[in-house]
């Protein structure tokens, strides 16, 4: 029924050590937990199995929750990203920031911040184009949702911009 602690010779030895002597000879020692502690041998505390299970289940739930997190802009879920390897829109970098950062740092050898080129400002024609595209998309959406009043307004605005009479100039 097991061995007794070599030190106190009372409690059951549960810590089994192999010390390497200065001459390279291995010496086995068997101690009880208390004596081992006194010698400064640190032990991993035993975790009750139910606590471990609980943690495990919670981790699973966290993963499940993470996989279901969804970007409101594009509808991409983190789970979908994991299987695709690609994101759905720039906003995903904000929505999944805490989940992505460890991946990003690993992929970039610890790099976590951009230190390179910063884009210059778009000139007026660039801004105008972006605006035209935005309006066009809004128009599509308005037509789709049968909001014809809004669509008419957007159409007028687009016509104005195309004619170059926009107030940006």
């Amino acid at each position: 029924m097991g061995i007794l602690c070599q030190n106190c010779k009372q409690a059951k030895a549960t810590v089994h050590l192999t010390d390497i002597q200065p001459d390279g000879e291995p010496v086995e020692r068997h101690l009880c937990e208390q004596c081992a502690n006194q010698e400064g041998v640190t032990l991993k505390p035993h975790e009750p199995i139910n606590l471990m299970l609980e943690k495990f289940v919670k981790l699973g739930a966290d993963l499940q929750e993470a996989a279901e997190r969804t970007c409101p802009e594009c509808g991409m879920t983190f789970g979908e990203f994991r299987s695709l390897g690609q994101l759905g829109c720039p906003n995903d970098y904000k929505v999944f920031a805490d989940l992505l950062m460890p991946l990003i740092e690993r992929a970039h050898d610890g790099g976590s911040e951009h230190v390179g080129k910063v884009p210059g400002r778009a000139d007026s024609s660039g801004k105008k184009r972006a605006e035209i595209h935005r309006l066009r998309r809004e128009l599509d959406r308005a037509v789709e949702s049968e909001d014809y009043e809004k669509a008419a307004k957007l159409r007028d605005r687009l016509k104005e911009m195309a004619a170059g009479s926009s107030d940006e100039h």
């Binding site: 802009e73 594009c74 509808g75 991409m76 695709l84 390897g85 690609q86 994101l87 759905g88 829109c89 720039p90 970098y93 992505l100 991946l103 990003i104 992929a107 970039h108 050898d109 610890g110 790099g111 976590s112 911040e113 951009h114 230190v115 390179g116 080129k117 910063v118 884009p119 210059g120 400002r121 778009a122 000139d123 024609s125 660039g126 801004k127 184009r129 972006a130 595209h133 935005r134 066009r136 998309r137 599509d140």
Partner: protein, 354 residues
């Protein structure tokens, strides 16, 4: 200019000129960009994708980047033509195989290709033969400046340029150098080089990039990290440290071979030439393998039956799509192998006794 015109020539990047061109085939830099306020292509509807396409086509025209170049609508050309562009490294395989609105603006010298709707909305790339990374960076930086005046790119102060795949964020820059390392392969030292490259966080791939084997002793070395270092740092590391060192190793291996195993070396070159010049059926990998040995002989000044330019041309023209284009029709695998052998016989020496 059309795709048919391309097939009988080689692009600038395969011309076999430029610094260190005995070992360095070509240099390439590409930048990945996405337009602000649009979804990445994984979540863009076909209409949105079309809009992104139009927006970038307009921007390219407005900056004058369409001059001396031609534009290819990838939806309008057939598989064979798309494959020709892949073989010339003007578009990626991924771009050729995707669906929906997409295209590419190619400069007539084939040193610049602006891919629209690849994995990212815009992938710009510049190519040169030999090791010419600094001038490539200046060129692509200027192209990027011009385009960012016309379209606003998705950018985050902390994460830099935002890309569909998080492995490209930051600079969005991939520097790639295509190397011909036959001597390191023969001496077996290539494994050491590949391990060192891995330690330096470099990707080493084959002739056609991602997922391709290093056939014909061609190795494409590129950076993997794009965040946390500036464009200039990445370029500088490649141009002054990484590549010159690998070139040095290859040259030392060539030196050693020509001193210690000259007969074996010449035997490899001549055998390769003999097969290329006489075989009746040749698969493309096997052709690359033998062309590689001949190229080594030529660039070491030991073999003069053919010049480097012809060899470089052959590397391209024996590729499946080029071969079919030159023969004027679609061929199956077996027909291609026969056509390839015929083509090689004609180009090398032109043995009439067949």
């Amino acid at each position: 200019m059309s795709i048919d015109d391309l097939t009988s020539t080689v692009g600038e990047w395969l011309r076999g000129t430029g610094p260190m061109s005995d070992v360095v085939i070509s240099s390439r830099i590409r930048l990945a960009r996405n337009i602000r306020n649009y979804h990445f292509l994984t979540k863009a509807s076909p209409d949105e994708q079309k809009e992104i396409y139009r927006c970038l086509v307009d921007a390219i025209a407005e900056t004058g980047l369409d001059q001396n170049s031609f534009f290819v609508d990838m939806e309008e050309i057939d598989d064979l033509d798309r494959q020709v562009l892949v073989e010339r490294h003007l578009v990626s395989r991924e771009h050729a195989e995707r669906e929906g609105s997409r295209g590419v603006a190619i400069s007539s010298s084939e040193t610049r290709a602006l891919m629209i709707n690849e994995e990212d909305h815009l992938r710009m790339q510049v190519l040169r033969s030999g090791l010419q990374l600094e001038s490539l960076w200046d060129e692509i930086n200027e192209i990027d400046d011009k385009l960012s005046a016309k379209v606003e790119f998705a950018f985050d102060e902390k994460l830099g340029y935002l890309t569909a795949c998080p492995t490209n964020i930051g600079t969005g820059m991939r520097v790639s150098v295509m190397l011909h390392l036959p001597a390191l392969k023969i001496t077996g030292e290539i494994e050491k080089v590949l391990r060192a490259a891995k330690d330096l966080r470099l990707a080493v791939r084959g002739l056609f990039g991602e997922g391709t084997e290093a056939v014909g002793d061609f190795y494409q070395v590129s950076n993997q990290t794009t965040l946390g270092r500036s464009e200039e740092e990445i370029v500088d590391e490649f141009a002054t440290r990484i590549i010159p060192r690998i070139v040095e190793y290859e040259k030392a291996a060539r030196e050693a071979l020509s001193h210690q195993r000259a007969v074996q070396l010449d035997d490899k070159v001549w055998r390769a030439y003999g097969i290329l010049e006489n075989a009746r059926t040749m698969a493309s990998d096997e052709t690359l393998f033998f062309l590689s040995h001949v190229r080594m002989g030529v660039s070491m000044g030991r073999f003069h039956a053919v010049d480097l330019n012809t060899i470089n041309e052959l590397f391209l023209q024996i590729q499946p799509a080029h071969l079919q284009k030159l023969r004027g029709g679609v061929l199956n695998g077996e027909q291609r192998s026969i056509a390839r052998a015929e083509f090689l016989r004609k180009r090398l020496g032109g043995n009439s006794h067949n």
